[in-house]
Symmetry: C2
Subunit: 377 residues, 2 copies
Amino acid sequence: MNKLSKVKNIIVNGPQKLDCGKEISNFPIAYETYGNLNDQKDNAILIFHALTGDQFAAGKNPITNKDGWWSYALGPGKAIDTDKFFVICANVIGGCMGSYGPSTIDKNTNAQISTNFPVITINDMVNAQFNLLEHFKIEKLFAVIGGSMGGMQVLQFVSNFPDKAQIAVPIACTSSHSAQNIAFNELGRQAIMADANWKAGKYNEDKTNPDKGLSVARMAAHITYLSKKGLQEKFGRKLQESDDLKFSFDADFQIESYLRYQGSVFVDRFDANSYLYITRAMDYFDLSKQFDGNLSKAFENTKTKFFVISFTSDWLYPTSENREIVIALNAIGADVGFVEIESDKGHDSFLLDVPDFLETLGSYLKTNYINLNEKRI
Amino acid sequence: MNKLSKVKNIIVNGPQKLDCGKEISNFPIAYETYGNLNDQKDNAILIFHALTGDQFAAGKNPITNKDGWWSYALGPGKAIDTDKFFVICANVIGGCMGSYGPSTIDKNTNAQISTNFPVITINDMVNAQFNLLEHFKIEKLFAVIGGSMGGMQVLQFVSNFPDKAQIAVPIACTSSHSAQNIAFNELGRQAIMADANWKAGKYNEDKTNPDKGLSVARMAAHITYLSKKGLQEKFGRKLQESDDLKFSFDADFQIESYLRYQGSVFVDRFDANSYLYITRAMDYFDLSKQFDGNLSKAFENTKTKFFVISFTSDWLYPTSENREIVIALNAIGADVGFVEIESDKGHDSFLLDVPDFLETLGSYLKTNYINLNEKRI
């Protein structure tokens, strides 16, 4: 984790009051930027990452040496065009890529904070990242964009800061985590906490990580990111090696090898305690509850223009849940567009090469930037 | 497990050749019966249990002291009416309720067979249970019935023994385990094998069971048994105790407590190695592959009358997969009925109090018994 000492960050003096009641001060927000901020400072986009994402949305992630998580959507000439826009992406608090989280070293004890880290919320994440606007002296963002948990942050951001973004694009998300969403996250948490190496979160003291539990958690999540149809078309019952079943508990089927692989590579880049904290924040997310059960009220003070995007085969945050956001916005006469993109790639569609999605997003951003700012780009 | 010495069983002399190539001999099949076999011996029904079921389908399970798994459907005056029918239910081989399985004690070593137990298939299970017909001197069953993995056994039974059942009722099942089905089972297996107490299956030697891993496996499976809508209506975001979030990793939401409870009670009644073996058998199930990819051929020699039942909200074995069985039967002009029952209880509908289902099943059995045997009951 020494590599993390090189990631860019700001130190937030605070104090920031968290939803749990505690205050945090002098904590780091790790971030990355793409493209250039123009003189008018009207071309800035803040993008929010999903559960296991980080600030390295495009280019090569210097920690993992893999492509950034949104390489399909973000870059020169792409949907979120870094030739035109200045894009900021921060690691959420609770994360493990340099922002304040359970793997941050407590200077007093020289050990990881681990489960002494406070339980945080999507609201806390968004409030922490807001400090980046001051850092870059940006009065108003052109856009806030994010998929999955990133979309939840988009919704929370506009609710908290109604005059700080011209447009908001929540993608494949929900305004309130459903029972099934909570169930899958709880499954992941129980898998981690069942690992004898988890040691009530203090695993770093012995340098023994709960890799097996975290791997199982990732496998469970991964199943929810793909559609049943997509899995069937990609893997079906194809065997991994031989023509015949092996009559053992080795990976006979390709889908088994795939899941095991997804689990094994994940533990190299992600911290188990961060997984606990971030899934908890997602489960706690219920924007309408913040407004006495009336989701429309979350947005009644904003002039921000919304564009909600869902995917046909997303069963984690299905179109019906995205549509609830649209309905709440329409109920107060907000400026809102909505599109359901045809895709068999499931929830992961927003991360993948889905041309209809990428073209739709790109056109929307480009057209609105021209129209809203009365300029050519 | 000493209680198991009291369960009824037959000893199959064999040898029975398994799909893996090995042979098994002198092994027990534990069974239970309900109702009375009539003099004509034409009123016998063989029901097959699902993944975690056993022979105690109705009444009080003497091992767990809980109601049998099919108490809603089976009993005097119920859909499978034990005032009229003689019902046999056996524990599958690979199971842990007295039939030959990984927890059977090897008399040579005085230890559990554990992972020396051969990897078995649905075909092996059905062939083993066929011995019960000889035991009861039943020439032809009135019906074979089962839901989920029980439905797979129904399909395999008719394919193997085309003249041994008048009617066959596969419920909420599939003729071939999908990639998503395999994925969820693999997740459960990995959770068990990730438990440090699993010890490559030899946990019984130290009397330390992989309860945490088995519990996580059960939680994962349980999510797939319920529908998203059903979960939302039953639990939604209801909190377990207090009015407010606890900002901890305790069970805040009722759905979390529910899943933890399901996991914890499961480990008291089920063996982790059995879970591995039986899920493996389900994943290996592909009836059409046994017939060169032509599912119709599986049934071309039978006069058995089929009645296929699916449930609207079952996303584990959705109606589309049940319908494939109907299509294959129709393609060879078989006598087949099909009904999709409206229910928001998900895959578990076949186990629960779903009146439309129970009435449909009951009427079908009663009417067909009268018609096929030209009698009044």
